[in-house]
């Protein structure tokens, strides 16, 4: 099973009582507001779930794996996610390594 925006919208329709249109728009707006914050360089902290942070990576040497040719990987800004202690603990408890 994979959780997608459609299931999240269904949940808001069934459990929060938004109409179908509002539920779909709310889910879209939820992710759009997080993108907006990250786009302007603002990290996002969602307590109990995790933090989205921005990292500025310097240029580094890279290689085309097919041709072996050296090409620089340009400097860039990337998003990293750090799950909260609570989420990490809940996941670890559900998956204690015995189910592999």
């Amino acid at each position: 099973m994979t959780l997608t925006k459609a299931e999240l919208a269904d949940l808001l329709f069934e459990r929060v009582g938004l109409n179908k249109r509002e539920a779909k728009d709310m889910v879209e707006a939820f992710f759009e507001e997080i993108r907006n914050a990250l786009e302007v360089g603002d990290g996002v902290k969602l307590s109990g779930f995790g933090n989205f942070q921005l990292r500025d990576k310097p240029q580094r040497p890279g290689r085309n794996p097919k041709t072996g040719q050296e090409i620089p990987i340009t400097a860039r800004r990337v998003v990293t996610f750090h799950a909260s202690q609570k989420l990490k603990a809940d996941v670890e408890q559900a998956y204690d390594g015995t189910t592999v």
Binding site: G17, E22, F30, E33, L46, R76, V78, L87, G97
Partner: protein
């Protein structure tokens, strides 16, 4: 941006809803996402990114204070991979 700031921004976007709805919606979405990962399910949000669990094999670690060997069991950890739109919007040099 914190969770309460996110709720405030969403409440502003939906003036027809009562503020409580934005609050409830955010908590509901985050709970559903956490529950999915705890079940071992993936989350895929087009244009934003995907969440999945990554496996960490068992290893022998050390207590940094005493130097004693300790066995660290295998575990699963949440992992996020940014989607194309998010990657491009965050990286202005691209």
């Amino acid at each position: 941006m914190t969770k309460s700031e996110l709720i405030a921004r969403l409440a502003e976007r939906f003036p027809q809803l009562v503020a409580k709805d934005a609050d409830f919606a955010v908590k509901m979405i985050l709970d559903a996402m956490s529950d999915a990962l705890v079940r071992g399910d993936r989350i895929e949000i087009r244009g934003f990114g995907s969440f999945a669990l990554n496996y960490r094999p068992p290893r022998v670690g050390r207590n940094p204070k005493s130097g004693d060997k300790v066995s660290v069991p295998a575990k699963w950890v949440p992992h996020f991979k940014a989607g194309k739109e998010l990657r491009e919007r965050v990286d202005k040099t691209a």
